[in-house]
Symmetry: C2
Subunit: 225 residues, 2 copies
């Protein structure tokens, strides 16, 4: 399972980290937004920049060598905390909290807010950000249906502009066959559906081989975060 780290963290340690890094990362998200929208004087911008650089140096005193990856605790619960869409520790991520329908395999949804940093055309969500969010939703849908996979194809149809602000995303499984899942979904703004998506998600060969060997140490993740 390349790049998926099983660190056997006990659940209470996972919760402790969640409580620590969640608000910490949110504070950085606020700084990113403020940095884009600030109108303070040049001297103040430069003074804040010097302080930001000092804070970065403090955080880098001890750090991961590369990217975060996906870590699994003893219970097998994945932590995709670096993920660009759902990452608890990633200030680039809005982040989305994705809900799973308890009775219908593969039905997922999320209510979320996209602010100024996700802008494309003025006042509207960047078309590529809609694609980014929908890729994650459809991928989680495929995984929730029991057949996780990496994106093979993704097609977006833009019905109207998606306004920045409060949005809803939904995804579900259209059909599944062997190691392939076809999923669909859409974004909904104040005036209805703005973007529709359909995608094919395919379980990679290494994961298929691990499943065939019934090797629990190399079982594929719930979805390919």
């Amino acid at each position: 399972m390349p790049g998926y780290v099983r660190d056997d963290l006990p659940e209470e340690e996972v919760e402790r980290q969640r409580d620590l890094y969640g608000p910490f990362t949110q504070s950085i998200r606020e700084l990113v937004d403020a940095g884009l929208r600030t109108l303070v004087a040049d001297e103040e911008v430069l003074a804040v920049q010097a302080e930001v650089e000092a804070l970065t140096a403090r955080l880098r005193a001890k750090q991961l060598e590369g990217a975060y990856g996906v870590r699994f605790s003893a219970e097998g619960r994945g932590r995709p905390w670096g993920n660009t869409v759902v990452g608890l520790r990633n200030a680039v991520a809005p982040p989305l909290t994705i809900e799973h329908h308890p009775d219908r395999d593969g039905r997922v949804w999320s209510d979320f807010h996209l602010g100024a940093v996700y802008e494309g055309p003025p006042g509207l969500v960047h078309g590529g950000v809609s694609a980014l969010v929908l890729d994650q939703l459809l991928g989680e849908s495929a995984g929730a249906g029991g057949k996780p996979g990496m994106t093979a194809t993704l097609t977006l149809t833009y019905k109207r502009g998606t306004p920045l602000g409060a949005l809803r995303g939904e995804a579900w499984i259209e059909r599944a066959e062997s190691y392939k899942t076809w999923a669909r979904g859409h974004l909904i703004g104040p005036e209805g559906v703005t973007v529709e998506a359909e995608g094919l998600f395919v379980l990679p060969r290494w994961a298929r081989e691990a499943l065939a060997k019934q090797d629990p140490e190399k079982a594929p993740p719930r979805y390919f975060e």
Copy 2:
């Protein structure tokens, strides 16, 4: 031209702002990366969080009410500085610098680097981030060909995983007709093409009407940033 602000900034003021906000925003990008990868002690994380919150308050002392939008100077050069892909002032943006081929209308490319905050599967670029970057490249290609438009459809085909790190993106026009442009493009990693894209870009009605009336005040932007 809804949301496109013409502020008539002289070119030297644009350059001055570029020199100020470019490095400032880059310092925030570094903080975002350090925040994701840090392993310093909890007390230090909390201390940095308090300082980040204080810096945000200083920046918010005076700020834009909403999103940045796209601003045009007297010469008509657009500044999509809040854009999620190319925004000079947006720490969520890598940002990409997109080059235009001087002799071939619509041919654009970009060499760029995607770090830890753009991760999906471990060590790989999030499939949706590839879509985000390609949407921008294809859109700029359509605009560079003289027929800018908003994304109507976008189809991504994933050939293999895209590793985090140094990447190249390219886009070109397949064909154009009236107010529609079909563009294609791809991302290239160390082992070749990783993702292919094709999209249809359509000039919105308000822009078509402005063009028909030959109203220079409402001319559409070079592309729909």
